[in-house]
Symmetry: C2
Subunit: 239 residues, 2 copies
């Protein structure tokens, strides 16, 4: 994250854009006005705008103004993640996309990982689950371990693209897992499924690993869908 004064301005402006305080297509106040509003110099504002432009949130027309772009249309994965961060909500279609995406990429990753995993890597995953086991009530610890567990398996699978995509979601991953692990019975059941997966990886059994990952993810899907049943088209991610 960007630090300092320009970083503060950046965050505020980005939030204003995402919350549509500045609607798509509208013109932002001039740099001079913005600098006055934020009590900062024009350059702090310019730096923030430059980064917003890079991120696909605005586009600048010299001698005319800076305009809000359709960031859903022109944005990247990082844009989506930033939108999720600010809104702390996800629409149903994007949630379904995400869960389906995880299913196909991570089951494949598990199968690949089974063929490649080393003793050290097995040991690392084992420690990860032990840590989970020893912190049954600590949601934050469970969340962090969960990310690490899945990220590590994708890393072992060797697929650079999947790894980078998964990495992109790190800033909002906790939104989902905090919610998930707060559901009664989930930490225990989840740990059990993780251990099943770990054993399959230890046997270098690709088919069983794929199956175990599928079970793990489908269990997660099921619990999440149950919890948000009737939640409308937009699902809040805040606790």
């Amino acid at each position: 994250m960007k630090k300092g004064l320009p970083g503060k301005i950046l965050n505020e402006m980005r939030a204003d854009i995402i919350r549509e305080t500045y609607p798509i297509g509208s013109r932002l106040p001039s740099e001079r006005e913005l600098s006055e509003k934020y009590g900062a110099s024009r350059f702090a504002v310019r730096e923030a705008i430059a980064i917003l432009a890079q991120g696909g949130f605005v586009e600048t027309h010299p001698q005319s103004g800076t305009y809000v772009r359709d960031f859903f249309r022109h944005g990247s994965l990082d844009t989506l993640v930033q939108v999720l961060r600010v809104r702390k909500a996800i629409d149903r279609q994007t949630l379904e996309s995400l869960l389906k995406f995880r299913l196909i990429t991570e089951t494949t990753a598990a199968a690949e990982a089974a063929l490649r995993i080393t003793g050290d890597e097995l040991e690392y995953l084992k420690k990860n689950l032990e840590h989970k086991k020893s912190h049954p009530g600590d949601i934050a610890a469970l969340s962090e371990s969960d990310f690490d567990f899945h990220y590590t398996i994708i890393g072992i699978s060797g697929n650079t693209i999947s790894r980078l995509v998964f990495q992109s979601f790190r800033p909002v991953y906790g939104f989902f897992t905090d919610f998930f692990y707060s559901i009664r019975g989930v930490p225990e059941a989840s740990l059990k499924l993780n251990m099943k997966l770990l054993r399959a990886l230890g046997r270098h059994d690709a088919a069983a690993s794929r199956k175990a990952m599928e079970e793990t993810l489908k269990f997660g899907e099921k619990k999440v869908y149950e919890a948000i049943r009737g939640g409308g088209s937009v699902i809040l991610l805040e606790r």
Copy 2:
């Protein structure tokens, strides 16, 4: 892409970092030195550095300097794409990752698309292939149509994540397709496979669509691997 003077500086500096003219971990020259080197003001340099920092290429330590980060480790998908743009080369592992990734995501997308595709969308894809057919020798046209064809199908599938990931590769997609369509016999064979896929989509046959997409992508893989056989660990993407 960033325009103007800061944009020029940004591109040069990013290229220098990616080419390891400034090695990972090293300190960049001071802002004052850089501004002199590029014949620009310190602010133009600062704007460029701010964007580089946002992209995970550098990190700034006040009163000490700006240092090159390990952008492969901390970077996102966009980082990888920018690296490919500059290097015009891809290592074997990343190429394999990319092809495998496409296979699992796009076969699934084709199956989903078959269930959702509308008459207008079918018509659009049909026109796309007709355009391809009428420009048999025009590599640039074939490349652009190819991206559009696959991107449209992913869009129809409704998976937002897959769509955003595919979108991220747009800036370098041509590197691959320009190479691909230059191979003798490929344009014709590829078109034939695309048409088979289109027919399957038209019948709303998910299984056949998945199969046809698989054939299309595996044909591409095969041709690419044949062409780069013995090409070492790094494959050049330049023509």
